[in-house]
């Protein structure tokens, strides 16, 4: 698939044809105007070349109609292109509700991925063709940018926030994956491959790969290791110091001071890093912060665990994505709890049971 003199990038996702159509339309417009200006310049240069030393040009008054024409025509063209481009962009940042969530963490200088099934990979990402895939992207250190040219998608990994991008691979193959935001010495080596496979092959690959713990299972384990469960324990009658988390996710939470909000990814995340920010009504602000004690990866696992504890009520679906993409996250949360069920071609090789609620084992 690698030619000697490529002029067109691989086109291997649902976005690629859309972006290319837009790109080539704009290119045609640009070529037209560039050619127009170039031809006019050369033509005038020759036709009106100076023939006598003291010759002067013919100054004419400005023609208002011309001025209006060449202000309004470019304006209309660029506004049309703007509208078209914005439509494509909105598609890119509004993942469909059945998108399967993968976790992506950028760090100097590698990309780490975790499949919904728990499979982990570094600098290589296997994805099934024909399934919408949503990447939740985080960074452990500096800003990186996840970029797959063949899919025409790119999204920064920003420390302290979670960003996301989605795509649907349409053609099996091996494609470049780059870090597009300069991130230090080995920036140009923070590269890898996305391997798009037929669903069947993907399942086989998953089955053959080393067994990994799912995000949720790891989160459950952490929940105990970090002793979260000493305060946030299931309602057993014994007085706890913190609210129980069962059934909280996706529901409305009443805060101290009367405000309410929806418990989404962003809220859970914030509550771990910055517990005092939004205290649930009726509880004392006694929780210590876990900032610096948990990595981005562990944070994602904890959030995934809390989500698995249920609630399941969907806050407004299909909202905005970035930043943090809380609404869209929750939209996902509605269906991917347990996550992999909705993965288009349901995993068969590794049966769904253990993947779905691995925390049951703990």
């Amino acid at each position: 698939m690698k030619q000697d003199l490529p002029l067109f990038p691989e086109s291997a996702s649902n976005f690629a044809p859309e972006v290319d159509a837009l790109f080539w339309a704009w290119t045609a417009v640009s070529l037209f105007f560039t050619a127009l200006i170039a031809v006019l310049i050369v033509y005038f240069m020759v036709k009106y070349r100076r023939r006598a030393v003291d010759e002067v040009g013919q100054s004419e008054r400005a023609a208002t109609s011309l001025e209006i024409a060449w202000s309004v025509i470019p304006l209309i063209i660029s506004l049309a292109m703007f509208a078209w481009g914005t439509k494509v962009y909105f598609d890119m940042f509004r993942p469909p509700s059945n998108a399967v969530e993968y976790y992506t963490i950028g760090k100097q200088w590698m990309w780490k991925f975790q499949h919904p099934s728990g499979q982990r990979e570094i600098n290589t990402l296997h994805v099934p063709v024909g399934t919408p895939i949503k990447l939740n992207i985080q960074s452990e250190d500096v800003i990186h940018s996840f970029y797959v040219p063949a899919f025409r998608v790119k999204q920064d990994a920003v420390p302290g926030r979670q960003t996301q991008i989605w795509f649907e691979a349409t053609k099996p193959g091996v494609y470049h994956m780059f870090c597009a935001e300069y991130c230090g010495a080995e920036h140009s080596r923070m590269v890898g491959s996305v391997i798009a496979m037929e669903p069947q092959q993907y399942e086989e690959w998953l089955a053959g790969g080393p067994a990994g713990q799912s995000m949720t299972a790891s989160g459950a384990q952490l929940f105990q290791t970090l002793a979260c469960d000493t305060c946030h324990r299931p309602t057993t009658g014994i007085p706890a110091r913190g609210p129980a988390l069962e059934g909280v996710y996706g529901k409305q939470v009443r805060l101290e001071g009367g405000r309410t909000l929806i418990a989404d990814d962003e809220y859970v995340r914030e509550s771990i890093l910055n517990p005092q920010a939004k205290i649930v009504a009726g509880w004392a602000p006694v929780m210590p912060t876990f900032q610096g004690q948990v990595t981005e990866e562990q944070l994602a696992q904890l959030v995934s665990y809390v989500r698995s504890l249920g609630g399941g009520g969907s806050p407004e679906a299909g909202g905005t994505a970035a930043p943090g993409g809380s609404a869209a996250d929750s939209a996902g949360g509605q269906v991917d709890n347990p996550a992999p069920q909705t993965a288009g071609p349901a995993p068969q090789g590794t049966n769904q049971g253990p993947q779905n609620r691995p925390q049951d084992k703990t």
């Binding site: 003291d54 962009y89 970029y147 040219p149 998608v153 935001e181």
Partner: protein, 554 residues
């Protein structure tokens, strides 16, 4: 120069008339001068030094990219190379080039003033520039800096272990020279115009410098504080952008681009001003739609402040914010397009000479058109996601900054060289240089559009093999471009001593700067002119008179 532009030299011109060059002699007379023309010469020398340095880094970058493996220098050396290239070219060459050299020399003369309003501040701005340059050079000599010219946090604040603070201080200090230049221009243009020089009799060069000054004055302080915060975060651990404290690295990008996007207009607006003067002088006619072109400069300056967010389409900013920034970026393209169309229309029924400055000017129109159109392409959200941070961006901004600003700068230098030095330069060589720059430039940067579309990210030290062909083309182009730049350096230097003496107005051009001897006397005019008409009213009789007669004393 050839016969069409070199009339006979009058014998009385050989008798040295007092001018700013022979008014005083000695190093001290230069280093302590308050004459805007001499300060312009000081700037000319310093920006040339920095340009050479920046070009050297560019050359090394291009050489490294000849092969995909990254086998010439280590990656951290490469990162320092492109960073230093960017910092030097942006802050120490492109931003000061036209305003501080050509603007400094010409703004007071074109409006009929004896000097800028604040000559001491003008001199101070050069010293500040030099001081900032020394800090930056010190950082380079000690190993350089590897953050990219954009200083993105948290890499620059918490991770890079190079001389970030020293470089930041250099850029910070240099900012004041921009502010002082802008401040000086604004006050001078407001308060010191000659009698009769109304706003709509101002040459477009002045309009564009006025717009540029607004951007300098409003934008530069913001990057000053931003850079200061980065330095404070490194030195004093004041963690404004530190994500470990909950700080937001994207806030840095907002502040940074609030200046650095308008900074692009600091580079291109004066270029458009030069462009208007060149086209008018070498087509010998009024600029088509003078008022619209003038207002377009102001419109670009104002709209330029509202589009910074288009540098952050993939940071995860709200998609609605992105939409607003996208549409505003489209709007800023309109006045730019209007300028291009008006310049082209000016050629219609002109008397077009093929002198070197005009060749540069026509090259500018073509290259800037491509730079501008690709700019609207990447302002389109759906496309930018793919092209962001790829070589497409690199190609785009080089088309604007190199194809636009440097072409205009060189064109302007060729046009006003007889005014500045009182001497002529070789006609054939200078036309050759214009051709080489044009061809070399396109060969260097056009392949980068394709590379970007193929997906090659910026700032890559090594890259997949299939990108090599275009990189080789690009490097080959860079060598041609390099020759194109070395030629003017050589013949200008040569001409200062050996060039044929020029008459006062070798082009038969109209404008107050041509109403005074070449080179001009210390206070610019024998008598302050009284202006009675617009800037570009050409007639054959007047052209003849101007071409052949010397300006008389008194």
């Amino acid at each position: 120069m050839d016969a069409t532009v070199s009339p006979t030299v009058h014998p009385e011109a050989a008798v040295a008339r007092p001018n700013y060059l022979n008014a005083e002699y000695g190093l001290k007379s230069w280093l302590l001068t308050r004459d805007h023309k001499r300060i312009a010469i000081l700037y000319l020398i310093s920006v040339t030094v920095f340009f050479a340095l920046g070009a050297l880094f560019a050359l090394l970058v291009r050489l490294e990219l000849l092969t995909p493996q990254g086998d010439m220098v280590q990656p951290d050396t490469y990162n320092r190379l492109f960073t230093m290239h960017g910092i030097i070219m942006v802050f120490f060459f492109l931003i000061p080039a036209i305003p501080a050299v050509l603007g400094n020399f010409l703004v007071p003369i074109m409006i009929g003033a004896k000097d800028l309003a604040f000559p001491k501040i003008n001199l101070a701005s050069w010293y500040i520039y030099t001081l900032g340059g020394i800090f930056t050079l010190w950082a380079i000599v000690n190993g350089g800096v590897d953050t990219g010219w954009t200083f993105y946090t948290p890499f620059s604040t918490n991770y890079s272990n190079t001389h970030v603070v020293m470089t930041a201080v250099g850029v910070f200090i240099n900012g004041f020279s921009s502010i002082f230049t802008g401040l000086n221009f604004i006050v001078t243009i407001h308060r010191m115009r000659a009698p009769g020089m109304t706003w709509f009799r101002l040459p477009l060069f002045i309009w564009s410098h006025y717009a540029t000054s607004l951007v300098m004055v409003l934008g530069t302080p913001v990057i000053a504080i931003t850079i200061l915060l980065v330095a404070a975060e490194r030195l004093l651990h004041l963690g404004i952008f530190d994500p470990r404290l909950g700080g937001d690295p994207v806030l840095f990008q907002h502040l940074f681009w609030f200046y650095s996007h308008p900074a692009v207009y600091i580079m291109i607006l004066p270029a458009m001003g030069v462009q208007s003067e060149l086209v008018a002088a070498f087509a010998r006619k009024r600029i088509f739609g003078y008022r619209i072109v003038a207002f377009a400069s102001i419109a670009i300056a104002v709209l330029g402040f509202l589009v910074w967010g288009h540098h952050m389409f993939v940071t995860g900013q709200s998609i609605y914010a992105a939409t607003v920034f996208s549409v505003l970026s489209m709007l800023v393209a309109i006045p730019s397009a209007v300028k291009v169309f008006n310049l082209t229309a000016t050629l219609y029924e002109g008397s077009i000479s093929w002198d070197t400055p005009m060749l540069y000017a026509l090259g500018f129109i073509g290259l800037f058109t491509i730079g501008g159109l690709t700019g609207t392409m990447i302002a389109t959200l759906g496309i930018d996601i793919h092209l962001h941070d790829t070589y497409f961006i690199v190609a785009h901004f080089h088309y604007v900054m190199v194809g636009g600003t440097i072409m205009a700068y060189l064109g302007g230098l060729h046009y006003w060289w007889p005014k500045i030095s009182g001497r002529l330069y070789p006609g054939f060589l200078s036309r050759l240089s214009a051709l080489l720059v044009f061809v070399g430039f396109n060969l260097t940067f056009f392949p980068q559009f394709i590379l970007g579309y193929l997906g090659m990210p910026r700032r890559y030290w090594s890259y997949p093999e299939e990108f090599q062909v275009f990189n080789v083309l690009s490097t080959a182009g860079a060598t041609v471009l390099g020759v194109g730049y070395i030629l003017p350096l050589c013949y200008f230097t040569w001409s200062m001593r050996y060039g044929k003496k020029s008459v006062d107005n070798p082009w038969g051009a109209i404008g107050l700067e041509w109403d005074t001897p070449s080179p001009p006397p210390t206070e610019n005019f024998y008598t302050i002119p009284v202006v009675t008409r617009g800037p570009y009213d050409y007639s054959p009789e007047e052209v003849h008179a101007r071409r052949t007669e010397e300006v008389r004393v008194g």
